[in-house]
């Protein structure tokens, strides 16, 4: 669907990437700050000059020296800084996109409803809160009927509650509108929650491209701020009385905060931070921790001088636990040992 080979030199920085998107779904463009994620997005959108080739579906966007100008590419880019037009109100900003959009399947009413914008329409864009402005920016981009959606760290700069709110909107709209999406982020929680695939970047290059679950397992865990693993599980039931959702993980139950927007039987991905996983060698009783999953130690890596990262295989999924070396010795952990992974809390964005 999208095939891009791009090179660009900016002073000392060299972007040299080769990416292929074959499916609809959300692709995380993941990597530390300054690794060229935003530059890649801008080059794909035609906003920054780069050498190379870009093919999207049956169109050629770039084959140096030919390059299609930004306004002729069917991309939609949600900028980190929103870039709403200050001389237009919310409705005016949305209509700017509608008036220039080619025919497409995204309906105005659906976008307004999905992002709860109806009451904001007559508002001036200068008075919007961070979360509101982001919703307007996302809606404006969707209404330009993009065939390739790109989002540049849409949760950056938002406070915790706006983050949660926007994350909810994003997970709804990516499934609802089903566009091939490139989602730039350096936050592993976000990526695990939203993205089906990962394009992992480091200093201007793509170092891995795989499904999110597989890519996170392969990640050099020292390069990310939060060490952890992504697991996938199906919803077995909702316990509204306790505001919990039960997930089925190969016959074991995992309790997570209520996910009422998901139906029973649907699969969800979640991120388990290594610092939230505790290891026990025996089945424990009398603990407040509700999540206890039996597994086998798959590997052990010394991390800092006094810590060990233990990979635990539970059914076909991999979990990480971060424990002290002292604890690892006291429990005589070794590869192949049966253990129980106790999960203190489940991060759900």
């Amino acid at each position: 669907m999208l095939e891009a080979t791009l090179q660009q030199r900016l002073g000392d920085f060299q972007l040299d990437v080769n990416i292929t998107l074959n499916n609809t779904g959300v692709y995380a463009v993941f990597g530390p700050s300054g690794c060229g994620k935003t530059t890649l997005l801008k080059a794909l959108a035609g906003l920054t000059p780069a050498q190379g080739q870009i093919r999207f579906k049956d169109q050629c966007w770039q084959a140096t020296p030919m390059t299609l100008p930004a306004h002729e590419r069917a991309t939609g880019l949600v900028f980190q800084d929103n870039r709403l037009f200050p001389h237009l109100d919310v409705a005016g900003n949305l209509n700017f996109a509608v008036a220039r959009a080619s025919a497409g399947s995204i309906s105005y009413e659906e976008v307004i409803d999905t992002l709860s914008l109806r009451t904001l329409l007559p508002r001036s864009v200068t008075g919007l809160s961070g979360g509101e402005a982001k919703r307007v920016a996302i809606a404006r981009t969707l209404l330009s009927q993009p065939e390739l959606l790109m989002m540049d760290e849409p949760l950056n700069g938002l406070d915790q509650s706006s983050k949660r709110e926007i994350l909810g909107y994003l997970s709804r709209l990516t499934t609802h509108f089903n566009l091939p999406t490139l989602y730039v982020s350096h936050d592993i929680d976000e990526v695990a929650r939203l993205c089906d695939y990962m394009i992992v970047m480091a200093s201007g290059r793509v170092i891995d491209q795989d499904s999110t679950v597989a890519a996170i397992q392969k990640l050099d865990q020292t390069t990310i701020t939060t060490t952890g693993a992504v697991i996938e599980a199906a919803i077995s039931s909702h316990d509204r009385a306790h505001s919990l959702t039960h997930l089925d993980l190969a016959g074991h139950t995992l309790f997570v905060p209520l996910q009422s927007h998901l139906a029973v039987g649907q699969r969800m991905r979640l991120f388990l931070a290594a610092r939230d996983v505790v290891i026990a060698t025996k089945q424990t009783h009398g603990l407040s921790i509700r999540n206890s999953l039996p597994g086998v130690v798959e590997s052990m890596h010394a991390e800092a001088e006094n810590r060990v990262r233990v990979a635990i295989r539970v059914a076909d999924q991999l979990l990480f636990a971060q424990i002290t070396r002292h604890a690892s010795e006291a429990l005589s952990l070794r590869i192949g040992a049966p253990v129980f992974a106790l999960i203190k809390s489940v991060a759900l964005g």
Binding site: L47, P69, H71, F79, R83, H87, F96, T141, S144
Partner: protein, 223 residues
């Protein structure tokens, strides 16, 4: 009354000059605001020359340029059968040159203030560069346009030296208000001079008020 003819002529001159400069100054200001060419500072300097040169210097060179011995003057003469010197058309040309910085500078400032990031956003929404200019840059530079037009109009009304040099004092053709005032004072006709001068004073004040109101609290900068 001949003084009414002078007032009418002055307004015509100022309106024509403003309109033509708007058409010429907009692309020039856009280029000055965005070009990375090495010629840019030189073009900018030429544009600002009328701010520092005595009007008589500009007038003198224009007179030479308007002469039928010169290619421009000759071309005009073959085209229209009259000379540019001492004609309304010559005055318009001279005023355009003289008021050029008053049109261009506010527009350059206004264009430079329109964030390139907003233009990028417009492009990703499918707007062509022309579309972006009309529907994003123009509305965002509205104050700059008001300032530029009012200043150009007012400055053209107030010019004297250059008119005297290239236009002379032909009623209905080149005798503008400032020339009329000079003549009234020379002939000790102070009542007429008062009416015309007072009128210009009020007009200048009203124009500048418009500019400052349009620009909100910001201080007017020409450079």
């Amino acid at each position: 009354m001949t003084e009414l003819t002078a007032v009418w002529l002055t307004l015509q001159l100022a309106a024509t000059t403003t309109l033509l400069l708007l058409l010429l100054g907009t692309p020039l200001a856009w280029w000055l605001a965005h070009s990375r060419s090495r010629a840019r500072p030189i073009v900018e300097a030429i544009t600002s020359m009328p701010l520092v040169l005595p009007p008589t210097v500009i007038g003198f060179y224009l007179l030479l340029l308007f002469s039928p011995n010169n290619p421009l003057g000759d071309f005009w003469f073959t085209l229209t059968g009259s000379t540019l010197a001492f004609s309304f058309s010559g005055l318009v040309l001279a005023s355009m040159l003289y008021s050029l910085p008053f049109m261009v500078q506010p527009l350059v400032n206004a264009f430079a203030a329109v964030d390139v990031r907003l233009r990028e956003a417009a492009a990703t929404l499918g707007a062509t560069p022309g579309d972006t200019f009309r529907n994003l840059v123009l509305p965002l530079s509205k104050r700059g346009f008001v300032t530029a037009c009012v200043l150009t109009f007012a400055h053209t009304i107030g010019e004297f030296g250059i008119v005297l040099m290239v236009g002379g004092n032909i009623p209905g053709e080149t005798r503008v208000i400032s020339i009329a005032i000079y003549e009234q004072v020379e002939t000790l006709n102070y009542t007429q001079a008062h009416i015309l001068s007072g009128g210009l004073l009020v007009l200048a004040f009203a124009s500048l008020c418009t500019v400052y109101v349009a620009n909100g609290r910001s201080v007017l900068r020409l450079n």
